[in-house]
Symmetry: C2
Subunit: 376 residues, 2 copies
């Protein structure tokens, strides 16, 4: 994978770059919409391409492994073909969902035993078989199998878990070498820094991960309930150590403000369910603050959802109409809010990129962070 840093912001550590894979160029910083089970909930692939326009989306290995199941994806010729998405895809390793969704999970050195949250069936994830599953799903970027610690997490547990994550990383790397590509395009492997909210562990993990010399590096175990300031502190110490010439991916983050603050610390890639999940609950993100469209105050407001008009929904529908759809529990409301929020997130990272290149990212970021903190 070719990663080129095009610009670095003089006042912050923000970076603008490009990553190139066999499925095209990813301009960074980038936000990856979450397409859990081969679908960004409520959004047609056509709308994703033509309206929201991300260079890359994310799929969840845990969900895809359970449904439709890896053999079906393999029979289709990989996830891109199965779901009809010819741009980039990244899959997580399933670790996070195993810990957060499945019942009766048992974490051992060998791997994790868990029960499916769907039918209770028993499964076993190891660093080795998760590499095989990710080969068959066929994303462009695949992730190491790690343990994602909860927040808060005591120091001793965080330390032991981090070391196991590092041993699992070695097993992932060893097994990947033995596991040929399933399709005719390349895959790139990202290891994951852990260490909970402890700076010394984060530094130690960042050094271990950096030594792997992977095509990109990720930071996991954040955005799990800790205060934003702790998240930023961890990002900062880790970014000091991670190589500058490789993309940095902060997993599971976050609010629009989180994105800008972490971009300023040197992060290049993000993913989060927030724009899609909150949309389905009637929360809209805008450049001027958040809107709870369910509020009665919008009942008679026939102005456009968002005058910025990033996607077609913003000017085509009024706030009063969208509020009505939520009040009447019409799914079109969720569809509209989802397209709006994802369009806004992609606009936000693209605009950040333009500002980094133009050289006024810091000033713009400070104005945006204040504006976006409002409730409209």
């Amino acid at each position: 994978m070719a990663f080129k840093l095009a610009h670095t912001d003089p006042q912050t550590k923000a970076r603008a770059g490009t990553m190139t894979t066999d499925h095209g160029v990813i301009e960074t910083p980038i936000f990856m919409p979450v397409g859990t089970v081969a679908s960004v909930k409520g959004v047609h692939q056509k709308e994703l391409r033509e309206e929201i326009d991300p260079d890359i989306i994310l799929g969840n290995t845990y969900h895809l492994f359970l449904r439709p199941r890896t053999p079906i994806i393999k029979a289709a010729g990989g996830l891109h073909k199965f779901m009809g998405w010819d741009r980039n895809i990244l899959t997580d390793s399933g670790g996070y969902q195993v810990y957060s969704l499945s019942a009766n999970r048992k974490i051992k050195e060998e791997g994790v035993k868990f029960k499916s949250h769907i039918d209770g069936s028993l499964h076993f994830f190891t660093p080795e078989n998760v590499m095989e599953i990710q080969r068959d799903i066929g994303a462009d970027i695949i992730m190491a199998f790690d343990e994602c610690t909860p927040y808060p997490c005591d120091y001793q547990y965080a330390k032991r878990s981090m070391h196991m994550t590092h041993r699992w990383l070695d097993r992932c790397l060893l097994h990947l070498q033995k596991t040929p590509l399933s399709y005719d395009y390349d895959q790139f492997f990202f290891p994951i820094v852990q260490g909970s909210t402890y700076k010394d562990l984060r530094r130690q993990s960042a050094e271990y991960i950096s030594n792997v010399g992977a095509e990109g590096n990720a930071i996991g175990g954040l955005s799990v309930g800790e205060p934003a300031e702790e998240m930023y502190a961890m990002t900062e110490v880790v970014c000091e150590i991670l190589p500058e010439d490789k993309p940095r991916y902060l997993m599971g983050v976050g609010t629009p403000i989180n994105l800008l603050e972490n971009i300023a610390l040197g992060i290049d890639m993000f993913d989060c369910v927030m724009p899609t999940r909150n949309a389905r609950n009637g929360m809209l993100f805008t450049a001027h603050g958040t809107i709870n469209i369910k509020n009665k105050k919008w009942e008679n407001d026939f102005s456009a959802i968002d005058e910025m008009g990033i996607t077609f929904v913003d000017k085509e529908y009024s706030k009063a109409y969208l509020r009505h759809l939520f009040a009447a529990n019409e799914y079109l409301g969720k569809q509209i809010a989802t397209i709006h929020n994802l369009g806004f997130y992609i606009w936000l990272v693209r605009e950040a990129r333009r500002r980094i290149i133009a050289g006024d990212f810091a000033q713009w970021k400070n104005i945006m962070v204040k504006q976006m903190d409002k409730r409209l």
Copy 2:
């Protein structure tokens, strides 16, 4: 309203015509997608315009009266503006939903008292206030307030109910004269033939309704559980009496086969929740028969949903992918199936029109009825 009969089929009673209102031309025969509460469930207005492309859609007065409520629609400038749909709209009179959805409805000569199915609030519909509500909703075509009898219905009840529907019709007409238009475009009023499955009542009702001299005429009280043959028998006797130079609307019908058979009997307009509701349950209508996409047999079928490619979903998604979305309970599955089915219904009535004009409707209809009766 200008209605022009362009062609009449020589072998059947099928007709091809055009209706013109202030919101544009409606080519008949036409199927009207149901947009219950100002939304065709799961379909963006943009998709409705650009992909499904009907000349007219239907809104439900009962639902719109309860949510968002008539004053909100009036404040928006009418339903077209509220929902962002600038083509034609027809509203039913609310009668059918009052009988089928609401609790504790009491039908008296004066009108119908009912409890909202949403919050149990008490309401009263009369021929007079339903005309006022329909003025404020602002559809291009509005319907008489009638009683829709259930099936089976005993003769005496059907007869009494029909006469009350006729008296209600007179009250609708009288009150409409006193109720000015709410907006700057015209509205056209259609009375409704009732009489259950009794030919003599249907004839009597068709004569009463024809004498009104309305811009169009509707047949109600069918597609409520009676065998298709009884429906066709009623359509046939009513179409013999209804004026030829006015459009004929068969309410709440039906399957693709029902549409073709009733077109052959002289019907010009249809509406039904079947294409949308069945879509949400995983049933697809195609020219070659119906598909239950939830069946395991489609799990590994990576062929296009429908090679005909009427709308973008047909060729963009595979059967296996659509089956997966239903299995995983992803709403995108319902969205895809809905666009497919509505696209197919609109194609079907448009193709019927082309065949009527070309003169080979009867032969085509007979082939299609056989094909569409299959289960794939």
